[in-house]
């Protein structure tokens, strides 16, 4: 009789102690996405009135993306006074896509990389500085967390 009680106690405590949780690689057992990863590469410092090259490095599933579906760059100044229309970036191999640009004036700028490949669509926005910031731009930076709300045409 004692052995039965002990056995039962053993099983019960086993079940209670083994309170398990989802394992970290459980996600591998289900449908997986292959999100595009974009790394923006800017020359530093950037200055106005000279031609510079902005680059984006695309990776997917840990590998550089060759011949991506599309990679478009869009650049605008924070106060929307300057806009460079969306342009296709040139592929130079090893997942690197680039565009030459000549900034008209100093200020706070944004680059949005529109990219898509094998079902994954991304559009990260990169905030960057050309030359010196104006007082006003400095103030707006201090105002709070930067968001893409400055992006034109998003409101609907």
């Amino acid at each position: 009789m004692k052995s039965i009680r002990l056995l039962l106690l053993f099983f019960s405590s086993l079940c209670i102690l083994s309170a398990c949780s989802a394992s970290e690689d459980a996600a591998d057992l289900y449908k997986k996405e292959k999100p595009l990863q974009v790394e923006v590469d800017m020359p530093e410092p950037l200055s106005a009135e000279t031609t510079q090259t902005v680059k984006a490095v695309l990776k997917q599933d840990g590998k550089p993306v060759e011949g991506a579906g599309f990679v478009h760059f869009e650049i605008w100044k924070q106060d929307h006074s300057i806009r460079y229309p969306m342009e296709e970036a040139a592929e130079i191999g090893n997942g690197v896509y680039q565009m030459d640009i000549r900034f008209k004036e100093d200020g706070l700028y944004y680059l949005e990389v529109h990219a898509g490949n094998e079902g994954s669509l991304v559009s990260p926005v990169w905030q960057f500085i050309v030359g010196e910031l104006s007082e006003q731009e400095m103030e707006s930076l201090k105002q709070g967390a930067p968001t893409q709300q400055e992006v034109p045409g998003r409101h609907h």
Partner: protein, 459 residues
Amino acid sequence: MEENKEQKGISGAQKSSKNNQLHKTIWRWHFYAGIIFAPILVLLAVTGSIYLFKAEIENVLYADYYQVEPQGEQVSVSAQLEEVQALYPGAIVTKYRPGEDEARSNEVTVSSNGESLTVFMDPYTGKSVGELKDDDRIMDKIEEIHGELMTGKIGDRIVELAACWTIVLMATGFFLWFPKKRKGFGGVLFPRFGKGRKILRRDLHAVPAFWLTGGLLFLVMTGLPWSGFWGNNFQAIITNSGEGYPPSVWIGDAPSSDIETQEIAEVPWAAETLDVPLSSVQGLIPMPIDKVVEIADQQGIYPGYSIFIPQEQDGVYTLSVFPPKAQDEATMHIDQYSGAVLADYRYDNYGIIGKIVAWGITLHKGSQFGLVNQLISLIICLGVIFTVFTGIYLWWKRKPKKGSGAPKAPAIFKTKPFLALMIVLGILFPLVGLSILIVWLVDWAIIQRVPAVKRWLNA
């Protein structure tokens, strides 16, 4: 006691005494489990009956908050969130739920001074139409009673214990109900009205209980995946096996953004004097929620979804929707900087057990098949209440003046089939196992040693 009379009828000398012992043991367990868990069962059935109609009830209660007049253009989502932020300074916006149709308000959930509340926004005016504190939501209270007796973790375990013991009640009840010899369907499938009150009393408990068993077992089994102990372990096991819900749908973490921290633009206000290197403000900036709504619409997420807003730099936007039908469920994680879909789990991506559990849950809630589903569940709930009351009435009428009226207890080990059943249930439902151990301990330490208690309990 007609049970005993029935037993005597079978009498086959030796065999009957063994059967009798088994019968008594089972009866005793059924008796105690019934008396102890009856109040909780009634509570669960009552709250469950109400909760079945949650959507209908809330549509009436909160009609003023829900309904808006469609007119012209909608204000952008981020502008609506800014408005909420202005109304509740210092509050954290945690969730946004776009209305499922044109005439439905949007919901913004904020956490303010340690309490969570929902602000209902008219998307056409961009203004709030009202707020509702989580603590004031009556259906949430009902759900809290149903799930955890409003006492958190302890209540959750008690409800789970009651649910597991309901299985024991059904198993033992089934044995007691099971016809001992062929003599027609009276007292088995329908109550015998013409055989006296005692028989009718027994039949009014045992016969409806039999008819309910299938439905109640279904409700218990589909409710258990919610429970804190059995449910969590069950979910973990099936998720890890690849056959359950994908991680983060029920348990497990959402993927985190794979963006490196140094790539994220810093906010200079952290340093008042702006002595931080200016280059640190260069980097990725978070995506506005408007874009998340666009992605949700492009991806065909079922209307009525919620967007959970990331609170950390490496957090993600999580879209989730658990609509009336299991097939429409979706959970999606979106990178807050790039808008990349990091994970997209639909019903079709659940493992086979995950799909069964998902169906179980929508059936349990009564939403899968609409009104028919609600009515069947309601009948089961009402049946449970009826069975509990007839059970208690049965005991009350049979109870002798002195003592509890429990059948005499033979040692459980003398009835091997029953012991085996209890061991199996104790392993499948560890809380049952644990509570049996406690019962034994109490029996050994108190009941068997205090004569008055022993006599009253007929132990």
